[in-house]
């Protein structure tokens, strides 16, 4: 019997031994290249405790700097998260429950901040809101914010908003609307029904949204650095910007360690509280709630949500476009350097995405299909760790892991930057694909098996077509995330020039605002083009199934 090569390959891959080996290999990859390097810096506390003690803890000036910065970061993250919840919830409602023309447009708009690298966002937001120094001609900006604290909050809201809205919308979609309708048939007004029935069912989505938002704000480096530089502020620091400016390894290590531990602890506490706290609803106010459910109130609520989106999130993000038209062109720009930085960014993002696909999809499948076993469950939790760890600390930890702290240059530096980017984009890929696979009825693949298909054939012919769009979404998410990342890149090596780094340097070191703005625009347009591609492809999937 002649077997074709494909058949033989299929036979080989389906052997239980080979399958076990394959499983082991990507788990090992995950642990060695993602988890361990991310958390490695924690071991520094044990290996070099003496150094830390001498150089950091005994130095009151550095200590106060560190604690102030960390305090700022956590305060900002908390405020941003709370605001996001308050404005994100009504918007999630509009997205999931309401039908109207232009809903697709709204859907796209909400994701737009994700397409913009945070360095560009930081610059754009700063010139929109902030009071900028004299050498920055900026006729159109609002110029109402002088406090760096408030500016950073406004900035962080912009890029954490999509995370919150998406997490809430994802859970809301899964909650059967029949529950609310049932509440109404029992006499509850819309508001009462939502408050007493739907919201309590929301907790999982709320926890995810809070964790993603908080962690994102805590992590943020590029935009914060750019924004602070734009308003010429040198005194204010968040933890990531502090890490960005620190030079001594023990100080860096200490700050990173504290940041990581506090973030992990806080988020675990939040997860527990939100899951356990029972919002009693014994008290119902029929009349007021009825009034709020109808007429003007809901329309007002919706209008406010949309206005918030437009004025607080979208306009500041794209303000940089107007800047270019209203200020004088600069003559000192080195466009070849910019071009090189773009190429670097795209190259790194491309390689990172490919590796994420190759190693992320198998892990996602493994987790999604083995929900009841301890190893996949543990891996599922671990996958979220790199998302919580501030990327600048992650970058530092990774460098420590691979090089022991010595400076790096050249191709090895680029390689390390890639590893760092893999660390925080890999979870995005895995989460996306795991979520997609879990939504699909396992009966499809099981039926395929009983029809004679081996598991790998079942995957190729049945499961893969159904999750194609989600895989693509994960890939584009990883790509744009890598493209926009600043903190981790700078933590590893300031010599590696990525586009966001280039922009930050223009602002911080050269004060060349015009070129920075132009560079921002170019990066925004490219990233936005990719986002549109994502929308088009995922929309096609909804049509086919």
């Amino acid at each position: 019997m002649l077997m074709s090569r494909l058949e033989r390959a299929t036979e080989f891959v389906s052997k239980p031994v080979v399958r076990k080996l394959w499983t082991v290999s990507f788990i090992v990859f995950f642990l060695c290249f993602v988890i361990v390097p991310t958390l490695f810096v924690l071991t520094y506390a044990f290996t070099n405790w003496g150094l830390i003690q001498d150089e950091v803890i005994q130095d009151p000036e550095i200590m106060s700097q560190i604690w102030t910065a960390i305090g700022n970061s956590f305060e900002i993250a908390a405020i941003v998260t709370i605001i996001d919840i308050l404005v994100g919830l009504p918007m999630a409602w509009i997205l999931v429950r309401k039908k109207f023309r232009g809903k697709e447009l709204l859907d796209t708009l909400i994701d737009m901040p994700l397409a913009v690298p945070t360095a560009a966002l930081g610059f754009s937001a700063a010139i929109f809101w902030g009071i900028t120094p004299a050498d920055l001609t900026n006729p159109l900006g609002l110029k109402i914010v002088s406090s760096p604290f408030i500016l950073i909050i406004l900035l962080h809201i912009i890029f954490s908003y999509p995370y919150m809205v998406r997490s809430l919308a994802a859970i809301l979609e899964q909650i059967d609307q029949t529950f609310e309708t049932a509440g109404q048939t029992l006499g509850a007004s819309k508001l009462t029904a939502v408050r007493t029935i739907t919201l309590p069912l929301f907790r999982a989505g709320l926890v995810t949204g809070i964790i993603l938002c908080f962690a994102r704000s805590l992590s943020e480096t590029g935009g914060t650095v750019a924004a602070l530089a734009t308003i010429s502020n040198v005194d204010f620091n968040t933890a990531p910007t502090l890490i960005d400016s620190l030079k001594s390894t023990p100080a860096l290590a200490f700050t990173s360690i504290v940041l990581i531990i506090l973030a992990l602890v806080l988020l675990v506490i939040v997860a527990i509280i939100v899951k356990k706290v029972h919002i009693p609803f014994r008290k119902v106010w029929p009349r007021p709630e009825k009034i709020l459910s109808r007429g003007l109130s809901p329309k007002l609520k919706d209008a406010t949500s949309v206005l918030f989106l437009v004025f607080i999130v979208l306009i500041p993000s794209f303000f940089v476009f107007t800047f270019v038209f209203t200020s004088e062109p600069s003559t000192t720009a080195d466009w070849s350097e910019f071009g090189q930085s773009l190429i670097n960014s795209f190259f790194i993002a491309g390689v990172v995405t490919v590796i994420d696909l190759a190693f992320g999809i198998p892990l996602a499948l493994y987790i999604a299909k083995n929900r009841s076993k301890w190893l996949p469950e543990t891996l599922d939790i671990l996958v979220n760790v790199p998302l919580i760890v501030p990327t600048v600390a992650l970058g530092f930890s990774l460098k420590l892991f691979w090089t022991g702290g010595t400076p790096v240059t050249g191709p090895f530096a680029i390689f390390l930057v890639m590893l760092a980017h893999i660390a925080f984009t890999y979870p995005l890929m895995v989460r996306n694909v795991t979520g997609a696979v879990e939504e699909i009825d396992p009966t499809y693949e099981e039926t395929a098996r009983t029809l004679g298909a081996k598991p790998v054939q079942g995957f190729r012919r049945v499961l893969f077509p159904m999750i194609k769009a989600s895989i693509l979404a994960g890939a584009i998410m990883a790509f744009t995330r890598s493209l926009g990342e600043t903190g981790a890149t700078r933590a590893i090596s300031t010599t590696v020039l990525t586009a966001p780094n280039y922009i930050v340097n223009l602002i911080k070191l050269d004060n060349d605002y015009y070129t920075a703005a132009l560079a921002c625009i170019i990066v925004i347009v490219i990233s936005f083009g990719l986002m549109l591609a994502l929308r088009y492809l995922t929309r096609r999937r909804k049509g086919a199934i």
């Binding site: 309708t181 049932a182 509440g183 007004s189």
Partner: protein, 361 residues
């Protein structure tokens, strides 16, 4: 005063007309079932009554008042959903007490009401459990108690038993009727199961493709359906195609495809008209004389067996025999079949053909 009145209700979803100019009146205290195949518009209609859907055209009146612009929560009705929809984060008791709770009634009243209705459906011992701990039938009973606890006089049931096992359905439907009759409620019950409809209803409304086919008591629809679709949908029947040969008061002759003739007692269509005769299997008898047919197969049905035969007139004819006699018949055998002339109903032959007219989906 009629409890529910629907006038000229039309419901359009884009190009699809789900409900097409339906008029329906349901009287106070009546148990009406809307029966029809999937997609006939019955669920849409009950949602229009509840206010979950606003009709594209037409008016809904409940207890004499127009329901235009009246939101769901103010229509004072109980609704039981097909997928049960018990609030998963609340106990059975809290679910049952939800109606009084959202009207902000005092705590003791909430407690009492919940207990009263849970006892009526015999779930008092499970009131501290969560919905996920109950089995299907119990969940649906809890859902019923919750709907009743609002004190509403109008109860809407949206395929309440479809998700349950066959055996559980049989037990639960008697309870549905018993409890609602005891409370004097007006009930609108939607289902695709004709056996269910016949066992619970005062009146059945048969729907198909967005419109009402006919309405009547279970006995009327079973023994003398006015439409051939109803004849085939409510219960099973034999359909024989032919022409009216002779027509008299008290007895008419119908000529079948092979020129053999059967006699029926009443016949509306005129002589020469193409007709289809409906006779239920229990009214067809093997005899020494009659329509010659060849047995194709037998189906065992417990207390009796159904014999399926193809007549000389090329119609599929089925008749029932007691199971013990089942051995007397076998495939290939020829039998003569007699039809109870009182039980036969004659309809004009539908233009689209009989199989199209009685199509189930």
């Amino acid at each position: 005063m009629p409890e529910v009145s629907l006038k000229n209700i039309t419901m359009r979803f884009g190009k699809v007309v789900a409900v097409d100019e339906v008029d329906l009146t349901i009287h106070d205290g009546e148990y009406v079932t809307i029966l029809g195949p999937s997609g006939c518009g019955k669920t849409t209609l009950i949602r229009v009554i509840a206010g979950i859907l606003e009709p594209t055209q037409g008016e809904v009146h409940i207890a004499g008042k127009s329901m235009k612009g009246v939101p769901i929560e103010e229509r004072d009705l109980g609704y039981v959903f097909q997928n049960i929809a018990l609030f998963p984060h609340m106990t059975v008791k809290m679910n049952a007490a939800y109606g009084p709770t959202v009207k902000d009634r005092p705590m003791e009243e909430r407690e009492q009401t919940a207990r009263k209705y849970l006892e009526m459906v015999k779930l008092l011992d499970k009131m501290s459990m969560f919905p996920s701990e109950l089995c299907g039938g119990e969940q649906q009973k809890a859902s019923l108690a919750r709907a009743l606890a609002t004190g509403a006089k109008l109860l809407l049931l949206d395929e309440p038993l479809s998700a349950l096992d066959a055996r559980v359905r049989v037990d639960l439907r008697y309870e549905l009727r018993r409890i609602t009759k005891n409370l004097g409620l007006t009930v609108v019950h939607v289902t695709h199961d004709q056996e269910e409809a016949m066992s619970v209803s005062d009146r059945i409304v048969v729907m198909r493709a967005g419109g009402i086919v006919e309405s009547g008591t279970p006995e009327q629809l079973y023994t003398r359906p006015r439409d051939v679709f109803t004849a085939n949908f409510v219960g099973e029947t034999n359909l024989l195609e032919g022409w009216v040969k002779e027509r008299h008061e008290g007895g008419s002759w119908i000529e079948l495809r092979d020129n053999s003739v059967i006699m029926v007692e009443s016949c509306d269509p005129q002589v020469g008209e193409a007709v289809v005769v409906s006779v239920r299997p229990e009214f067809v008898f093997p005899f020494t004389d009659g329509l010659l047919s060849r047995i194709e197969y037998l189906t065992y049905l417990g207390t009796f067996s159904r014999v399926s035969a193809r007549s000389q007139s090329d119609d599929l004819v089925e008749f029932d025999v007691p199971s013990i006699e089942g051995k007397l018949y076998h495939p290939g055998q020829e039998v003569h079949l007699m039809f109870n002339r009182k039980a036969a109903v004659v309809y004009p032959r539908p233009i689209e053909g009989v199989s199209e007219a009685v199509k189930l989906e």
